[in-house]
């Protein structure tokens, strides 16, 4: 009797991520949110308490993550910084989703010139690589967190619109939509009450994926000095403020907020892929 196994290389399939990393990432994010909300309770110091005698202190029992050049406690600042760093992407996505879902649904439902307009707008937006469109808006309207959120919201809207449009086009051809039409329901009402709610799962999944990207973009703008400015506490801004100390050999002021950004974005990306897989199922 001969026993052989196939000597062939078998194609790699994109394996479903095991839920373990997803659960760890999800748990971590929940922890971050709690920490941001309860920052005043957990933070060992006031985030803006200057103590020049403790300037650039390494890890000590007083300052577990060290201090920055003005002796402000980094742990406290990272905890407080989580607030703006998490809320700002939320605001940006809310704006982008409002614009994008509306544009996408109307384009799919009406077609014609609305659809053409959407694809033209998308084409032009896509001619600006990376953050350049946002940079243009900031150059015109001045810097600041509000402008950044507004500009990024505009920049993300076409992407969301295009995604919504493709979902809505598929959904529109389903029989239940026709059934409502036959009953004489108005197009607006069908869209608002039935079409969009049925797409909500997939769109929310997509937004979770975009959240990490939005967080990175906002942090980048803050780092460049275009977003949240002093004296507000923001991770991107903290990296910029801590960067001069790096050359002096004090790595913590820039690395602590930088790591916070990276870890939270990783967690969002892991959860995002999972959520969009789950919520996007069945279409």
């Amino acid at each position: 009797m001969t026993t052989v196994t196939a000597g062939a290389l078998i194609p790699v399939r994109v394996r479903a991520r095991r839920p373990v990393p997803v659960m760890i990432a999800g748990g971590f994010l929940a922890l971050v949110v709690v920490a941001a909300v309860c920052a005043p309770l957990i933070a060992p110091h006031a985030p803006d308490a200057v103590d020049l005698s403790a300037s650039l202190a390494g890890t000590t029992s007083q300052h577990p993550l060290g201090t920055d050049a003005s002796g402000q406690d980094l742990l406290s600042r990272v905890l407080y910084g989580a607030r703006s760093s998490l809320l700002a992407p939320l605001a940006l996505l809310a704006l982008a989703a409002l614009l994008g879902v509306t544009m996408g649904t109307v384009a799919a439902w009406r077609g014609g010139w609305v659809d053409t307009l959407l694809s033209r707008v998308t084409d032009v937006m896509y001619a600006f690589p990376g953050l350049l469109f946002v940079v243009l808006v900031i150059a015109v309207f001045g810097d600041g967190l509000t402008t950044s959120i507004f500009a990024l919201g505009l920049a993300y809207a076409p992407t969301i619109a295009r995604y919504t449009r493709s979902l809505a086009l598929a959904e529109r051809s389903k029989p239940y939509i026709d059934a409502y039409r036959v009953q004489g329901m108005s197009g607006t009402r069908i869209c608002v009450r039935h079409l969009v709610p049925n797409l909500a799962g997939a769109i929310v999944g997509y937004l979770v994926v975009l959240f990490g990207e939005g967080l990175m973009s906002l942090a980048t703008l803050s780092y460049l000095g275009f977003g949240a400015g002093s004296p507000s506490i923001d991770w991107g801004l903290m990296v910029q403020e801590g960067q001069d100390a790096v050359v002096q050999g004090a790595l913590l002021p820039a690395l602590v907020p930088g790591t916070a950004i990276a870890v939270v974005v990783v967690a969002f990306n892991i959860v995002g892929v999972r959520v969009s897989d789950r919520l996007g199922k069945g279409r």
């Binding site: 001969t2 026993t3 052989v4 196939a6 000597g7 062939a8």
Partner: protein, 335 residues
């Protein structure tokens, strides 16, 4: 014997399937012979053909033997196996369009085996490739060789595939639903081509054996010398084509013939009730039992064995066999 499969059983790893993909399959193809292998999808006919090239599903265990010219394919070392695949056996796949790399040119498809296997120079290979294309009836071979698969029709592509399969002068041809994806007239042309190649080689004294796999029993009966019928990973019947068509012994074979309508026959086509078992169905007793009109209680525990038909009961190819407990009854009723 050119191809001699004995008691071939192929099992997936525990948990992946409830029954073997192939169970005790024995099958022979002689030189110059065209042997049909018929069954529904999932019956194991493609798995059998692939086993001849030792292309087994991932993690599968094979037992038994697959001998080609007396050498066991399952025991070959990698270098020998590659030579076996490239020289001794050629396979023609169902859909030529997906079996050909879309980014390569038609010429590459032919010159590759010629240079790689036969060691021809690039220039000689191009000349030989053009001859091969002309021999399978393609016009303007030089131009064809510069084209890419998407520029040719399915029938033309299948001719290219056949030309490539014959380029290394193999002993055994495995045609896996080679004409099923083609429309009726193209199918007839390709079959005629295969038949003429067979005749030509036979006259030249280098008889080529063909294992012709199809789900179309009437086609197999018309085209082949002998036909094996597979069901649920087992060979249930083997007979010379004429005998099989005129006097099928196994209830499954009869069912297959009765559900294909033919001209001058005003009986209603009668489908076989039920569905073929899937890999997740564990089978005890006769696998055809749930769909069989003649089944008895004893069939539930009967381990299928090949019962010789006619002759001295020696089970030789000339007479065939069928794996049915109630063979006597079937034969009598059909007589």
């Amino acid at each position: 014997m050119l191809l001699d499969i004995e008691d071939l059983t192929i099992e997936l790893p525990a948990g992946a399937a409830a029954r073997p993909m192939l169970a005790e399959v024995s099958l022979r193809v002689g030189r110059g012979e065209v042997v049909g292998l018929v069954g529904e999808s999932g019956s194991g006919k493609s798995t059998t053909a692939r086993a001849v090239l030792r292309m087994l599903p991932e993690g599968a265990r094979a037992s038994g033997s697959v001998r080609v010219d007396g050498e066991d394919v399952l025991a070959m070392d990698p270098a020998r196996l590659r030579r076996h695949r490239s020289r001794t056996v050629s396979m023609i796949f169902q859909d030529p369009r997906s079996a050909m790399n879309p980014v390569r040119r038609i010429g590459d498809f032919l010159t590759d085996p010629l240079t790689r296997v036969l060691g021809l120079s690039r220039r000689d290979a191009v000349v030989k490739a053009a001859e091969l294309l002309a021999s399978v009836g393609l016009s303007d071979p030089e131009r064809r060789m510069r084209q890419r698969p998407h520029e040719l029709s399915g029938g033309m592509l299948q001719r290219v595939v056949i030309a490539a399969a014959l380029s290394t002068d193999p002993d055994l041809l495995l045609a896996d639903e080679a004409t099923s994806a083609l429309d009726a007239t193209t199918q007839a042309e390709v079959l005629a081509l295969l038949r003429s190649i067979q005749e030509e080689r036979r006259r030249a004294g280098s008889g080529i054996g063909t294992l012709f796999i199809t789900h179309d029993l009437p086609l197999a009966a018309a085209y082949c010398d002998r036909v094996y019928v597979m069901y649920a990973g087992r060979v249930v019947e083997q007979q010379p084509a004429r005998g099989l068509f005129a006097d099928p012994k196994h209830p499954y074979t009869r069912g297959l013939l009765e559900c294909s309508p033919s001209l001058g026959d005003d009986r209603e086509p009668r489908p076989i009730p039920g569905r073929p078992p899937s890999l997740s169905d564990a089978l005890t007793g006769c696998p055809f039992l749930p769909r069989c009109a003649r089944a008895e209680a004893e069939c539930e525990t009967w381990a299928p064995v090949a019962v010789p038909l006619g002759g001295d009961g020696d089970g030789s190819e000339r007479y065939g066999f069928a794996a049915c407990r109630r063979l006597e009854l079937v034969s009598r009723s059909s007589a």
